[in-house]
Amino acid sequence: MIKIEAILQPSKLDAVKDALLEAGIEGMTILEARGHGRQKGHTEFYRGREYTVDLLPKVKIELVVKDDQKEKTIQAIIGAARTGRIGDGKIFVSPVAEAIRIRNDERGETAL
């Protein structure tokens, strides 16, 4: 089992969610986050003082999928989220040691 974490532009959330559902991936966790990579922030004014806002709103999706679903999932996300410009986001992949369904104590890939 692997965990896929994708940091996205908030405006891309709906498209990515739909793409994942179409690819057969049903479980996901969405978090609201702030951050930046190489993308520059923007300036805001308050009473004549200029402030640089460099913590930009982002959306993070976390998914845990079976090993054979990895490529499908990644392609779904990239297909929906890519615009070609700086700020599209990043995907991180890591192994998952265990997965447990709380309702009935199922373990392993069947718990996903």
Binding site: F45, Y46, R47, G48, Y51
Partner: protein
């Protein structure tokens, strides 16, 4: 036979025509009996008296209706107008604390005013302050007080003026936002209301007041229709003293301290604009043409000032901000306050435009030059706007709008510079100078006393935690429930 008939006909005509005239106009005839006519005259006199009473009653009803409405509008300016305006400008962790400062004034000042405040401001006394004649509102009932407003119950005047007494200290809270203890704020502003506001109100509006333009013995009859000096200069200058005494917020000016909700501030500013019609037009103390004048002037000045600030900011910073536009509007409202019942509509546009640009400069240039932390620009908008407005009132006051000065025969005399009365600028300056002085001295003394007794500022930990949690044990917003 024919000639006699003709003579008879002529005789009848000669007697008949005047006879018919007498029949049609019975009052030309001498009275048949004296008592019946006297009864008629008495009845007519009674009818005239009734008519006059009915007219006076209708006038009173109109005036009282407008004045009670105005009182409600002015209260709306504090709650929620000012509460929202200031609340939106502070960081999220201080929203409740900020709103509570306005709300506390709505409650505390009411009680103080009822007990002694009204008496000190509007009761008879000397040129500087009233007395204790109306302690516990003794004598303040439905009978009009002829010194102030002959057509409305004195209680209406009292409740209307109370709303002014409420908002004035609430305005000061903008200067010490995010760092003052709730208990100390309550004590300090209550004392301020008694020792600074009431005397100033008495001097400008009270019977025998030193600056009262309707007091023929006034040393410096100053034009202040709705409280440019009484409310705005005092609160604005006191605000400056407060922010200098208390010091800057922790982290100012390096840390970003943005308004957490300009939406709330926007709503608050619009409520202030609408409420201010009660503040200015209500100061006519009647539903009169003068109220109309004040209403129109208020609206015109506000619009012009918002444009003035927005354009100045557009040029200076490249973009017209929403905060700038609403701040400009408030600056215009402040500046037109003393002038509203004295100037012509076109003058109001000019006053507004000047105030918008001047207050913009105060906030953007002067504040950053000196580096004081007037957190919500109470001094920049109210202190500066009030001063500009009070002085421009002397320039633009026209007797054609409000003939305050009259000669022995009752003819209007020139009011302001626009009428040719340059001397009025001395009177206006005296009002401004007294407002500044009493504010600086009174505020310093009271801050010092309250500081020594109970401390003014929250601790650094409390300031970091926020007023909502540290002072009130609450959070303004809970996004988790």
């Amino acid at each position: 036979m024919c000639r006699r008939g003709i003579k008879l006909l002529l005789l009848l005509a000669v007697l008949g025509v005047p006879g018919m005239a007498l029949a049609v106009a019975p009052d030309l005839a001498p009275p048949a009996s004296a008592p019946a006519t006297q009864a008629q005259i008495a009845a007519l006199q009674q009818a005239i008296n009734n008519q006059q009473a009915a007219t006076a009653s209708a006038q009173s009803a109109g005036d009282n209706a407008w004045m009670l409405t105005s009182a409600a509008l002015v209260l709306l300016m504090t709650g929620p107008g000012l509460a929202l305006f200031y609340g939106g400008l502070v960081r999220r962790k201080n929203i409740l604390g900020t709103m509570m400062q306005s709300f506390a004034m709505m409650c505390l000042i009411t009680v103080l005013w009822a007990i002694v405040g009204y008496s000190l401001a509007f009761g008879p006394g000397n040129a500087f302050v009233g007395g204790f004649q109306n302690l516990f509102l003794r004598g303040v009932g439905v009978t009009p007080n002829l010194n102030y407003a002959p057509t409305i119950p004195e209680q209406t005047l009292m409740i209307y003026q109370l709303m002014f007494a409420i908002i004035t200290p609430a305005l000061i809270s903008g200067a010490f936002a995010e760092r003052m203890k709730f208990s100390s704020m309550a004590v300090f502003l209550s004392l301020w209301s008694l020792f600074v506001y009431c005397p100033m109100a008495h001097m400008v509006w009270g019977v025998g007041g030193l600056l009262n333009s309707s007091n023929i013995h006034a040393r410096f009859p100053s034009f202040d229709f709705a409280g440019g000096t009484v409310v705005h200069i005092t609160s604005g200058v006191s605000a400056l003293v407060c922010c200098l005494y208390l010091g800057k917020r922790a982290g100012y000016p390096h840390t970003k301290m943005q308004p957490h909700s300009l939406v709330l501030s926007f709503i608050g500013a619009c409520l202030l604009w609408v409420g201010w019609f009660g503040f200015n037009a209500g100061s006519a103390l009647a539903a009169s043409p003068l109220a109309t004048s004040a209403f129109v002037n208020t609206h015109f000045a506000t619009a012009a000032a918002a444009i003035g600030w927005a354009v100045a900011e557009w040029i200076h910073n490249g973009k017209p901000t929403a905060l700038g536009a609403i701040s400009g509007a408030v600056a215009g409202l402040v500046a037109i306050t003393p002038a509203s019942g004295f100037v012509q509509p076109m003058s109001a546009l000019i006053i507004g435009l000047v105030a918008g640009v001047v207050c913009f400069s105060m906030v953007f240039l002067v504040k950053s030059f000196f580096g004081y932390d007037d957190s919500l620009d109470a001094f920049g908008v109210h202190g500066a706007g009030g001063t500009v407005g009070a002085l421009l009132t002397g320039v633009f006051a026209a007797s054609i709008i409000n003939p305050v000065f009259k000669d022995a025969a009752g003819n209007p005399l020139p009011s302001g510079v626009i009428d040719g009365h340059w001397g009025q600028m001395i009177n206006q300056s005296a009002g401004v100078a007294i407002a500044w002085s009493i504010s600086i001295v009174g505020t310093l003394v009271l801050l010092f006393v309250v500081d020594k007794v109970m401390g003014l500022r929250v601790s650094p930990e409390q300031e970091s935690e926020g007023l909502d949690l540290s002072q009130h044990g609450e959070e303004g917003y809970d996004f988790n429930t």
